[in-house]
Subunit: 229 residues, 4 copies
């Protein structure tokens, strides 16, 4: 079961963004700025920073997620996002006897496929156990583990990096599992920084551009049609 928890974050993420913004343009000091900013002013400045893409101000707000119930298909994609910090459960040090696994919905919804899939996972579990019994170290036995094997990961990203991550991974063209996780992360950060992430999501929603070319899902075109008179 996918579980996404916002474990830690910069205590007042929107206030720190607003302070950064004002520091750039005003002649007062950092401490003073903080004292003088009302909640309404903070919101206004955050909206402006997001709108004009003044990305550096968004980097001072940082978010740490604990994620469980995801496959290594997902994490191998995830860790390609380099402006982020990760720590992941090790298959080298943690034994994988009776490992859990993620079943893709298109397999779960296809009884013949599901039966084959489950049987294979059972087979892989047995093979892993047998190899370990035969004296193969865990770090080598793991070569048999499936991409589907469940893993856990800690993710820290700043708001700028998150907005970019959502652009790519909330997109309907993104792989289903990472999209599901990205949407859950977005829901979490919206609770603590609603203005900062107000308009966050796939590129089409967030920037009005679809970078997918011929492979577009058509969502942007649909949105634009709705706006026509």
């Amino acid at each position: 079961m996918l579980s996404v928890t916002l474990l830690e974050h910069t205590p007042e993420p929107e206030r720190v963004v607003a302070m950064a913004a004002r520091l750039c343009y005003a002649s007062v000091g950092a401490k003073e700025l903080s004292e003088r900013l009302s909640d309404e002013k903070v919101k206004e400045m955050v909206r402006k920073m997001v709108a004009i893409g003044h990305g550096s101000t968004l980097e001072h707000a940082s978010f740490t997620f604990g994620v469980e119930g995801v496959s290594r298909v997902l994490t191998h994609q995830l860790v390609r996002h380099r402006i982020a910090s990760y720590d992941q459960q090790s298959q080298r040090y943690v034994a994988s006897h009776g490992f859990q696994y993620i079943t893709p919905p298109k397999i779960a919804g296809n009884p013949a496929a599901k039966a084959r899939f489950d049987a294979l996972m059972e087979e892989i579990r047995s093979a892993y156990d047998e190899l370990v019994e035969l004296g193969v170290p865990k770090e080598d036995a793991r070569y048999v583990l499936a991409n589907a094997a469940e893993t856990k990961i800690l993710i820290t990203m700043n708001a700028r990096s998150l907005l970019h991550f959502f652009n790519l991974r909330c997109c309907l063209r993104a792989q289903w599992e990472i999209r599901q996780m990205a949407n859950r992360m977005l829901a979490e950060v919206k609770k603590v920084a609603p203005t900062l992430f107000h308009n966050a999501g796939a590129s089409c929603v967030n920037t009005g551009l679809c970078p997918e070319g011929d492979m577009t899902c058509g969502h942007l075109e649909d949105m634009l049609k709705l706006r026509e008179p």
Copy 2:
């Protein structure tokens, strides 16, 4: 006057590092881990992560500083540290009439030099004002401003990046102004994460290595002599 304020930080910086560490090596989930970690266990794990240089776990703890009373000599060096986020007061948008400036101690302590220095700063202030009056935009008038001109900057770094920053900038061979700021930053983070930054500082103190070669200050050698029987 140099002012270094720790404006924001990950609420429990050492706990998040310990959680990251345990996630890698244990088979329980992130939430569970947090509940079960005593303060003593947190400290023990943080010590271990720092000792073995498991840097990724240290990245989840993030610190935001407001810094004032520094020169652009300092900030031009500072922003070369790329694993960090900055927002700096703009000389393009903020007028610099009567700008403040930083006087190096070796000038402050040399009356003839100080007189020359102060007179020149006064001269630059006048020139800036005159240029603006002659219709030169602020963004061009600033070409006359001295390196000494005071600036303000917001800095966010994670603990791993900070440890590296302290290695280089708390060193006696570092430029005096950035060293002064680095030492103040170190004092601030020690208050909220004493175990994480227990042994932080210049390379010689932190790693037992001096990378300065022939240009060493000799501090490491002195420390090693003290340890001899």
Copy 3:
């Protein structure tokens, strides 16, 4: 005098991008891919990678520039681009007696302003020399140097980072000096990677979006008007 030289670059920048692209989508190996790609196919694939924003493929092509005749106003902005490598002439180690300087066009074209500016630079040169004579170390005497002081810098960026740099810095809203340098860098890379940088430039030109909001120069609007029937 601004001087921008492309000192080194990945020997066949477009071929390496095309190879990266094919590796992702084809079942043949890296060496094979290279042998089979015609020049025409390379161009086609590069065009596609740029169009769909498959940025990772563009990172394998890297460019090193030697830049001289720029001010520290420029370099302080430049080094804020963190996905890049820099080495800059040190004012700490290299003496600045009789330093050269950059005169902004709006000062150069205003005789009264120019006279004031030149006189001040002369004054700063004298002050620098006097301070050094009074025993102030170079690294402290430099506090008097103007933002206008000439510096030299070596820059390495990959194609993805360059495209982003051009988005921001070829923009008419960018500061004039860094825009001038960015345009020169763009001209240089177009000579060796014309397809890769075909459409490069300010955001409006490159992406069809203007992130400047109310502060837009109007160029995008003008371009869109031209396209109307």
Copy 4:
């Protein structure tokens, strides 16, 4: 079969490092510097930059490798190195019928384990094919693929990042497969930049420090003993 090819690199990697170094400390321009540097001088400066850890100068030299015959165990670790660029063969777009796989030596050398391992891989191949026949998309069928499945990847790293990579991954404590690849990469770059990578390798060899604590392999201790009288 592991295959590591150095596909592209900065044409004169050591010369560009030397130029960067001289630019920092000398008062002549970049072009001039290049002309005046003899091969012997280049080597001398590179040696110095490596010795004092002036890392920024090493970043201007960049290396692109094509790697084949590696498992996803390896690539999932590899892509955690963030100061690098990657493009990897996609299991989403490229079909994996009859996929190749990597057999760990400790399995290859244990006949019972090898038989079990090979049979399981055959079983996974069949399951993959059946799922695709049952209408499961490639991107979901891949959830059954083993960690052992062969993949191909393009890697670009600069010399500074490579030196760090070798510190960690040439270490005897590193996982055997990535260590094998790291050693091959090191052999390749030594051919084109022998001075730059002269002393490269595991931390103990390169820096004289072992960060592994209690888990040290003892190699450093052995080396130190050899140096005793």
